[in-house]
């Protein structure tokens, strides 16, 4: 059997998910050895439109970027969105909740009309997506797990329970008990509660679990002193797209 042909693409993003793949170090050589990488602009010269699996990083933020994504969708048998920008819009969505003309003027001044943009959106808002690998940036181990599953023709399984479970397993003290607030109760686990482990809080970058109890989360945040405005902002840091896509 021929090796599967794999391509990597990116749209509006920091390219951190592709960098996580490069950061696999020795394992990167195994990954690229198991497939034919036919396009990976950040790391190699040359390109082919003939590929089986396309990994796509980044959000779509311009109408003029859509044709390139449609072309990728047409060429790929399997399209995988990688990283929060691609799966839930990431921090690119923050601008969506401001007046877009004011956003453009703030950055580009009186020449703002030269710089096209529209409300940022995840890949699935433009084309059908076969698989999503969450997190900002993606987790190296989870990528390798999903990659192996795809090569074996299986659909990888991702947790559908909240980060709180990962947090308990990591034996963290709940951040609410330390006077901070957290998106963990409604956010998809699988990260090992990595930010809480490092002394921070869960920001919500893996997106909501399938049926988040958002009302309860809002109540908890209010109980811990957040205003209605602050709660809204906290939800919008990563999960604002669920607000507009309802």
């Amino acid at each position: 059997m021929d090796k599967p042909r794999v391509a990597f693409f990116d749209f509006a993003s920091c390219e951190g998910d592709q960098l996580q793949i490069v950061n696999l170090e020795e394992d990167l050589l195994k990954v690229v050895g198991a497939v034919d990488v036919v396009s990976f602009r950040e790391a190699m010269k040359g390109h082919s439109d003939n590929y089986d699996i396309a990994f796509v990083e980044g959000s779509i933020t311009r109408r003029s970027d859509e044709p390139r994504l449609l072309e990728i969708r047409k060429n790929a048998k399997i399209l995988v969105a990688i990283g929060a920008c691609a799966t839930i819009g990431g921090v690119n969505l923050l601008k969506n909740f401001q007046d877009l003309e004011s956003v453009r003027k703030f950055v580009y001044g009186d020449k703002f009309f030269q710089y096209e943009t529209y409300p940022a959106r995840p890949i699935k808002a433009v084309v059908p997506v076969d698989l999503e690998i969450h997190q900002c940036p993606i987790n190296r181990d989870e990528f390798v797990m999903a990659f192996k599953a795809l090569l074996m023709g299986k659909k990888p399984e991702f947790p559908n329970y909240p980060v709180c479970e990962d947090c308990k397993k990591a034996e963290n003290i709940c951040v609410f008990e330390m006077g901070m607030t957290c998106m963990g109760p409604v956010t998809r686990a699988g990260c090992g509660a990595c930010c809480v482990v490092e002394g921070s809080v869960c920001w919500g970058c893996r997106g909501f679990i399938d049926h988040p109890n958002a009302d309860s989360e809002r109540e908890v945040l209010a109980k811990y002193g957040l205003s209605v405005g602050d709660i809204l902002k906290k939800f919008r840091l990563y999960t604002g797209f669920s607000e507009v896509s309802k």
């Binding site: 920091c14 170090e25 950040e42 580009y108």
Partner: protein
């Protein structure tokens, strides 16, 4: 010379982000030569409006993955300046160690994975795994160590979680720092082998020179990465708060990223700029390496930016060992950040791998951002890339098209541009 050469590279590969090169040469005359930035803008400065003091670094880290440690630290410095927060000596040293981690991982990645293929005539690092296995494994080893160091101190290599306003949310343990010191020490021979490998390839870097201005941080007692004043090789020193009068950003229609200029029509930032400004502050091993490879200030060849990166790799390893040792002499794992919120305006600057970076925020009394500005190293390099490309193409316009193509791509790559970062 008759005939027409049309070079359209959409998009340049083995760089971060989306940039195009458009060149037209007709009958020996260069009709067009343009470096275009087509990256989608993400409007970070606008998006920051209304966000809290403890979110600014988390958000702006996402401007760029490979410089995310630098963005985090620069953002923290701007917020701390605005809120009037001072940091401890321990935090200062640990941040310096963290920024070394980023410089190392980024420079090693750029040299080993992105530049070396050009020097040995390969399309990427992948075929090198079979043609140069020992060298590739060496690069991988050093890259992994740099990432482990960043993970250990920042909590993650990309978008670090531990550095927070006022200090660190979590500290490494003494045992971890001791272990890091040993690893850095035993990597010294790898650094020398890498230096020998790149030195052997150095004659393959194109000979090209164009006088320009170099701008970066400078510090009285150290090779500046984390702190200092703004300096120029044309003379002059300025406090960081005056950065706007140095960068003078402007818009061009073929770029979504802003361009910058100081006194001349362009200036360069990055490893070569730092080397040109701060050569005297290099640690002994790095200085010796620079002398061995024949790199002297002021060097006007942008391709030598890669060699300056190599010199900085040696410097950052040496400096990291010294910092780790000093941290271990006096270590307080109980230190907690102390923050109080007030209205204020503050700017911060650090040297990230690609050059000098500025963040500036204005906060209201509730600690919410009302105004923000970020000036990225590659922003500041775009005009210089353009000017270099014009001069280079003029010099090599008679050569075969493929050769011109390779040379202009190598020129862009030499800057190690962070294109999506520059557009932000």
């Amino acid at each position: 010379m008759n005939g027409k050469k049309v070079i359209q590279i959409h998009h340049v590969t083995r760089i971060e982000g989306h940039g195009n090169i458009d060149i037209q040469i007709k009958d020996g005359k260069v009709d067009k030569c343009q470096w275009q930035i087509v990256e989608a803008p993400r409007f970070f400065e606008a998006a920051l409006r209304g966000r809290k003091w403890n979110e600014a670094a988390h958000i702006t880290s996402r401007i760029c993955a490979i410089c995310s440690i630098g963005h985090t630290l620069c953002s923290l410095k701007a917020t701390e300046a605005a809120l009037g927060i001072t940091i401890s000596e321990q935090t200062l040293k640990l941040r310096k160690l963290l920024i070394n981690g980023e410089t190392l991982q980024s420079h090693i990645l750029h040299l080993g994975y992105l530049v070396v293929p050009d020097l040995v005539g390969a399309p990427s690092v992948i075929p090198l795994a079979s043609t140069h296995p020992a060298e590739v494994l060496l690069v991988v080893r050093l890259h992994r160590l740099a990432n482990e160091m960043s993970d250990l101190i920042g909590g993650r290599t990309i978008h670090p979680q531990r550095p927070v306003v006022g200090g660190f949310a979590k500290w490494p343990t003494v045992a971890e720092l001791e272990n890091l010191y040993q690893k850095l020490e035993s990597a010294q021979s790898d650094v020398m082998t890498l230096a020998g490998f790149v030195k052997g390839l150095a004659p393959n870097f194109p000979k090209f020179s164009r006088e320009t201005e170099y701008i970066g941080l400078t510090h009285p007692t150290e090779y500046a990465f984390y702190e200092g004043e703004i300096a120029s090789t044309d003379g002059g020193k300025w406090p960081v708060d005056n950065y706007k009068s140095i960068v003078n950003e402007y818009l061009v229609p073929h770029s979504t990223a802003k361009f910058a200029r100081h006194k001349r029509d362009a200036y360069m930032v990055g490893a070569l700029a730092r080397f040109n400004l701060n050569y005297n502050k290099l640690l002994p091993g790095a200085k010796k390496l620079a002398d061995d490879v024949g790199l002297k200030p002021i060097n006007f060849n942008p391709f030598m930016n890669n060699v300056a990166q190599l010199v900085e790799v040696a410097h950052a390893f040496e400096d990291s060992m010294q910092l780790t040792k000093k941290l271990l002499e006096k270590w307080d794992p109980e230190e907690k950040p102390i923050v109080s919120v007030k209205a204020g305006l503050g700017s911060g600057s650090v040297e990230v791998p690609r050059g000098i970076l500025f963040h500036e925020y204005e906060y209201n009394k509730d600690g919410e951002i009302v105004w923000a500005n970020c000036v990225i190293p590659t922003n500041q390099n775009h005009a210089n890339i353009q000017k270099d490309m014009e001069a280079l193409v003029e010099e090599i316009k008679e050569r075969p098209q493929e050769e011109i193509e390779l040379m202009v791509e190598m020129l862009v790559r030499a800057y190690d541009p962070c294109v999506s970062c520059s557009t932000h």
